[in-house]
Symmetry: C2
Subunit: 260 residues, 2 copies
């Protein structure tokens, strides 16, 4: 008897430290590869996994979304426990649900939200290492906040993206952008319909350069306005970045909070 | 020429995961042992290190205070960099300063502040593991908050301490106690003149039992009032606990924020 094929979506959390990125890689373990291995181990069938957002090597996620097809009869919830026991401690399935057969986690996403953790400290932090980028204290946060407001709305973000991103359109719409200080931490949070490759990390590097006085507001605006692919070359380290959530309309996992 | 002997205080942060505790141990690495080794490596002289608060194996610290004597002529600030390059990544010196020759970091402390991180989740969290205690969601936080108010002020906390703690006085004064929910995290924060051995971990376990309905408010109050050493036997895991700061009057490191 043929069992009907179902498409399932997973909500994923991972510590990206030991991964070569979210997508399948030849040179080391990836989130996609680990998930495909765990699903095959659980169901006995290989199935391709699609992810909503690409995250670089070392980037973390609290709310990545993955999709795959299965013709098993396991209830959705069984995949949460069944995959978590098969995955390394650095990846976890937070929730699972059935989606439409044609659901595409990347194309149907309406927005992505990222958080970047800047640690303002002259000395390393054992409790925040691997989760933050440490820069010396003394940044002018008000000036960084002022600069960040230029980023709101639809712009060509080519200057703050990897030059490779310039193959397609480099226009994106940033819906929110905030810089919040909390003790010795600075949290840079941004939500956009989508992000160009390295956009978040290069934007954070530029804002930190503004805060330290190495980049003026005028120069920052000029980079943005001229939109020359990859003109802003500094990039903040991957370990400070976390994909908080991927949004859909209607929400895919409405019971799960985006923040961890 | 004899150089004058100075007493220095250090502000320490550590990830306690791989340590047998703060105090020197026969069975594995300790914070005290690692510091003594680093100081000897830097100065060429062995010197005993005294810590303000004892933390169990696996307990973290953002603001532990350590003291030692040295007759070197290095400026205080040199010990920050000099010790950090000699310490493992899991320990860092955040700041250093000279104190009076008779300064005792434990006896002169006026208060300690701890934070316990409870993760409310049915599934493990790659980003919070080793830093939190995961308990299933659905705790009655309002009831936990109500119970926690009984703990304020001076009480005999024998019921919520290791029976070993009952050798001396078990009266302590809790100056503040809060339970704050933030997404899927519950932060239990307490400040007291001092804490009994395991007091914070057993108190958190009792509050979680109240939240889950396994312990009634009346039973909780009875444990507190009867003050029978160690009568409340559950203990929350060490990894969720962090020593936020040790207070002195006047403050020892006024420029350092307590929270990380």
């Amino acid at each position: 008897m043929d069992r009907p094929r179902r498409r399932l979506a997973l909500l994923l959390e991972y510590d990206g430290t030991s991964f070569c990125g979210s997508q399948l890689q030849a040179n080391g373990p990836s989130i996609q590869g680990e998930l495909e291995r765990a699903i095959e181990s659980m169901t006995g069938c290989f199935t391709r996994v699609a992810l909503a957002g690409r995250t670089d090597a070392g980037v973390h996620a609290l709310g990545q979304v993955a999709c795959f097809d299965t013709d098993t009869s396991y209830p959705c919830q069984a995949f949460v426990g069944g995959l978590n026991v098969r995955l390394a401690q650095s990846i976890a399935v937070r929730a699972a649900r059935k989606v439409e057969a044609a659901f595409d986690p990347r194309r149907q996403a309406t927005a992505r939200r990222y958080r970047y953790h800047v640690l303002l400290s002259g000395v390393r932090s054992p409790l925040l290492q691997g989760r933050s980028w440490r820069v010396p204290a003394g940044l002018d946060v008000a000036r960084m906040q002022e600069a960040s407001q230029c980023l709101l709305g639809e712009h060509d973000f080519a200057a703050f993206a990897s030059p490779e991103a310039a193959r397609g359109s480099t226009r994106r719409t940033v819906r929110s952008f905030s810089i919040r200080r909390c003790g010795r931490s600075l949290f840079v949070e941004a939500e956009a319909n989508a992000f160009l490759m390295h956009q978040m990390r290069r934007t954070v590097a530029a804002l930190v350069d503004i805060g330290s006085g190495r980049l003026s507001l005028d120069e920052f605006r000029r980079h943005l306005d001229q939109a020359r692919p990859g003109s802003y070359e500094h990039s903040a380290p991957a370990c400070g970045l976390c994909l908080l959530c991927v949004r859909y309309d209607p929400p895919l996992f409405p019971d799960e909070r985006e923040q961890g």
